[in-house]
């Protein structure tokens, strides 16, 4: 069953278009991450799902019911905010049961829920404390607890980890993942952090300028980005996009850059449409982690490139090479010794490449 379905949704603030014709579906129990740079409309989309923002066009369905005009409190959702948004004047207990009290749930039921959730999240010892007396991680837990006691159909998370320090963020990320594994509630999660998105989501919708660029599993987003924006956004450092064109002769396709004699054979690539390839202007995409310093399989393409720059970051090093005056980055273990300003033998893993039309920037 589709827990959440969004149809042809558009939203403007005045004359600024924030969301354009968004279509989105989530299956029961899935974890959807909305990922994108700041200002791409992902938070607005989440607020619309919650009912905190109005819609200009389109509809939102929860459990096959059109909730576009339903109040936030009646949508069967709960939301966790970036600033936690704990009510400062109330202690943890009051914070967690505020929603249930508003909904006029019976006292026994409230107590039961509170006990269950506070034990589950290990905040039962903090019930009498004020939010100001809690650490960042504890506040985060209470905020999740406040959402949990309502037993919502959908959890909405709005960048819940970005206020935490790096170490705590990794811990809380794991906790959210565990939580989802245990509860199997549908989640919509907004973030700008690709690691969070990759590790948490069963699906990721990448957004830019109010449009969903790609909505797919993390594996497909990483391996088969649907356009150059996604290719560039995911991965660190991001995918190398080498400008050049395709050459087709006697059914063999290869990639060449202008004014060079390097010719990379494309014979394992899964083209969407295998016609009119000859002379097509393209970007040849290869991730830094798919360039090796020694041959790993027979199909690898061998090439000699000059190393220009080395960035040491502990467990690995990022090398910049010169590929016909275009920069190509590669990621190696830091134990490999590579001499700068000298040609180095490299191997491109051609099973992992992506090709994009240079004009439309779409995957071909």
């Amino acid at each position: 069953m589709k827990t959440l379905k969004i149809e042809e949704l558009s939203k403007n603030f005045g004359s600024t278009e924030v969301l354009r014709k968004i279509n989105l579906e989530i299956d029961e129990g899935n974890f959807l991450v909305l990922l994108g740079p700041s200002g791409c409309g992902k938070s607005t989309l989440l607020n619309i799902i919650a009912g905190l923002e109005t819609i200009n066009e389109g509809n939102v369905h929860i459990d096959n019911y059109n909730v576009s005009k339903v109040e936030p409190k009646d949508r069967n959702i709960a939301m966790v905010f970036q600033s936690y948004a704990l009510y400062p004047s109330m202690n943890v207990r009051e914070n967690m049961i505020f929603g249930l009290k508003q909904a006029k749930v019976s006292k026994e039921k409230i107590e039961e829920q509170l006990e269950k959730v506070s034990k589950f999240l290990q905040v039962d010892a903090l019930l009498e404390r004020k939010p100001s007396q809690l650490s960042g991680g504890q506040r985060q837990r209470v905020a999740i607890g406040r959402a949990l006691v309502r037993e919502p159909r959908i959890f909405l998370f709005d960048e819940p980890l970005s206020n935490l320090d790096a170490k705590l963020r990794v811990e809380m990320r794991r906790e959210i993942k565990k939580l989802h594994q245990q509860l199997k509630t549908t989640v919509v999660y907004v973030t700008h952090d690709q690691t969070e998105a990759m590790s948490l989501g069963t699906n990721i919708a990448i957004m830019n300028h109010g449009v969903i660029q790609q909505n797919d599993t993390p594996e497909n987003i990483y391996n088969k980005p649907s356009n150059t924006f996604v290719a560039d956004f995911i991965g660190s450092p991001s995918m190398n996009l080498i400008k050049g064109s395709l050459k087709e002769s006697s059914n063999k396709v290869s990639f060449v850059t202008h004014g060079s004699n390097i010719e990379i054979p494309i014979n394992r690539y899964d083209f969407k449409e295998k016609s009119n390839l000859d002379n097509k202007e393209v970007f040849f995409g290869i991730r830094p982690e798919h360039i090796f310093f020694k041959k790993s399989n027979e199909e690898d393409f061998e090439i000699n490139l000059r190393a220009d720059l080395s960035e040491y970051i502990g467990h690995e090093q990022i090398m910049t090479f010169n590929f016909e005056n275009q920069e190509v980055l590669a990621k190696f273990p830091s134990t490999v010794k590579i001499h700068l300003s000298k040609n180095t033998k490299l191997f491109f893993d051609l099973t992992q490449i992506s090709l994009f039309d240079a004009k439309t920037e779409e995957r071909i």
């Binding site: 905190l52 936030p72 905010f81 948004a85 009510y87 400062p88 508003q102 909904a103 709005d158």
Partner: protein, 300 residues
């Protein structure tokens, strides 16, 4: 070579040490002068109010009183006990209390509500509403005297404490709204969103979530409004006379109407009595005043 550099460092060090010392002493000197300058009038007032007329005539302004003589204070507060022409502060003091308490309450409350709406329930044109409200802070009081007098007349509450309450409430709203708006801007709107999802409505969010954290700005507003309204002379003297006058108007009448001798001791005592309530408010809530004024700048 190095020794040379070191010795020149030493010289510079000495030099800046002397400069700093001089500046420090100069600073203290200026501060002390100003402290005397500001405390001097208060000293004269208190000392004079404790003297008899005899002492005042014989001594100078600065002479210490012969003893703690509160007679002039009693006269200022309760009068001499003879009939006509005996003006004293007591009834007018209560007039002022009856005026200032409701006026402060209503203007603060309405300002809080307006600030809440202007920040957390934005609507089309809210910026214009706020801008026009701000104009209220800059309109000179004199400009509205006539229209206000007419309004009070039409409403049938001219020359009454209720009329003054209305005037001060209306005139306070621009300021109180400004205070509360600036305070609520710094409170994350996510709180309101969370409460809406939890099912709280407009008033519940205001009373249960925002108001409990507004103490600093409420204190600032109360001090500001109390001082403004208590010390107001223009509105009081224009829109009221006789029985309904607030204390500042009465003080004026009292000091000007003394027929025979100028009783400086009674005048001084009256002036102090008229100023005491604002002092009390400052002493009780003063530390919140600074905290409240700066709290908007630091996100809590």
């Amino acid at each position: 070579m190095q020794d040379k550099i070191h010795s020149s460092y030493k010289q510079l060090e000495q030099k800046s040490k002397y400069t700093n010392m001089f500046l420090r002493w100069f600073l203290y000197f200026v501060l002390v002068v100003f402290a005397f300058y500001f405390i001097f009038p208060l000293y004269v007032m208190v000392v004079t109010s404790l003297k008899t007329m005899e002492e005042i005539r014989q001594g100078t302004l600065l002479t210490w009183p012969s003893g703690l003589n509160f007679d002039s204070w009693l006269v200022a507060w309760g009068g001499r006990g003879y009939g006509a022409g005996d003006t004293f502060l007591k009834p007018y003091f209560w007039n002022s209390i009856k005026m200032v308490v409701p006026a402060v309450f209503f203007s603060t409350f309405i300002g809080a509500m307006a600030g809440y709406v202007l920040t957390k329930w934005r609507f089309k044109g809210d910026k214009w509403v706020f801008l026009f409200l701000l104009f209220g802070c800059f309109i000179p009081y004199q400009a509205i005297l006539l229209p206000m007098a007419r309004t009070l007349g039409v409403l049938g509450i001219s020359n009454s404490v209720i009329g003054l309450v209305l005037v001060h409430t209306v005139y306070g709203i621009p300021f109180t709204t400004l205070f509360f708006r600036n305070f609520y801007v710094s409170i994350p709107s996510e709180l309101v969103k969370a409460a809406r999802i939890d099912g709280a409505g407009f008033f519940k969010i205001f009373f249960k979530i925002l108001l409990p954290v507004s103490t600093p700005i409420i204190v600032v507003t109360i001090i500001w409004q109390f001082t403004q309204i208590w010390n107001d002379f223009l509105f009081g003297s224009t829109f009221s006379f006789g029985e309904a006058a607030p204390i500042q108007v009465a003080l004026n009448n009292m000091v000007l109407s003394s027929t025979s001798v100028k009783e400086y001791n009674v005048d001084m005592a009256s002036a102090i009595i008229a100023g005491i309530p604002t002092l009390i408010v400052y002493v009780l809530a003063g530390k919140y005043f600074i905290r409240g004024l700066t709290s908007g700048a630091v996100k809590g």
